[in-house]
Symmetry: C2
Subunit: 179 residues, 2 copies
């Protein structure tokens, strides 16, 4: 079964290879990969996913905020140079959700809502693009703007877990394929 072979390959990486491979699981936060590396060997891909979730929940609130702040705005305007700063993973995920080919109107609405969100909470709106489409993202942003800061910290970290889980599944598979 591919899951077992993929996890075996992940367990066999050197620490350096592991951290390099998993450094982008949590956007721009390689400390997560270093921590995950300590928790090997893993028994399954789900074991990696749950271990990372436990790590994210173990962080102090200030560190959780830092994790969110390391995310760029969704569909950042090319004029701001934001699109150029997207990581390859993020660009691919946002493209799949239609966020890199927005109508002028949707882009303007998203930019304004992102701005209001960041002004209110101090960190950007984070959502798992691959599990959403433009309409649900705009809707989610409007709803979440009404939340408390603590609820949004929790909601943002929950989205980071979803993004990471999808990336972990891909990485585990590709680690096996590269052997």
């Amino acid at each position: 079964m591919s899951d077992r072979a993929g996890v075996a390959a992940v367990n066999q990486l050197t620490a350096e290879e592991f951290v390099l491979t998993f450094s982008r699981v949590v956007e721009s936060y390689p400390a997560a990969a270093a921590q995950l590396c300590q928790l090997r060997p893993f028994r399954s891909t789900q074991h990696i996913v749950d271990s990372l979730a436990g790590f994210l929940e173990s962080l102090a609130p200030a560190d959780q905020e830092e994790v969110l702040r390391l995310h760029t705005d969704l569909a950042g305007s090319p004029a701001d140079g934001d699109e150029g700063r997207l990581t390859a993973e993020s660009a691919r995920e946002q493209r799949a959700a239609g966020l890199l080919s927005l109508s002028a109107r949707d882009r303007q609405e998203l930019t304004q809502l992102n701005h209001r969100y960041k002004m209110k909470f101090g960190f950007p709106f984070v959502i798992c693009a691959r599990e959403n489409k433009v309409a649900t993202i705009l809707e989610g942003l409007k709803t979440r703007l009404g939340n408390t800061r603590r609820d949004e910290l929790e909601a943002g970290i929950a989205e980071v877990k979803k993004i990471s889980a999808l990336r972990i599944r891909e990485l585990t598979q590709s680690t096996q394929d590269n052997l």
Copy 2:
């Protein structure tokens, strides 16, 4: 906020109180509570939930099977004395799903499917009763009977996580209320 107060109360329990309180989070498997106790302090209820999930995924397959085998059959027939062996938590959860007030026909079908499942896999069919109703449980049993043993071990553990998450949320809340 109630979550923070509940978690603070959980963190303040003595080890003995903690293990006693959380011993039924994973049905008849107090070792899970002993392990969770080592991972305190927790930052949130979600942190407890994710830590338990990581623990369950870290178990060797033989231990995961043992966790499943410690569950009684869903809606065990009173004639077999199974209903009398249900833990209080399980009885309450199964009652909510309608499993303790089945029609004779549904009960017979469930008993037969449970039996086939246990014969095929060597452990009972486990499903989070509170997230299902009788019809979806019968449907789930029929579908899952077609799975491989390894897939069912994974599916069963995923259901144990859902059951445990609901129990953890209740326990954290009631630990606070009992202070």
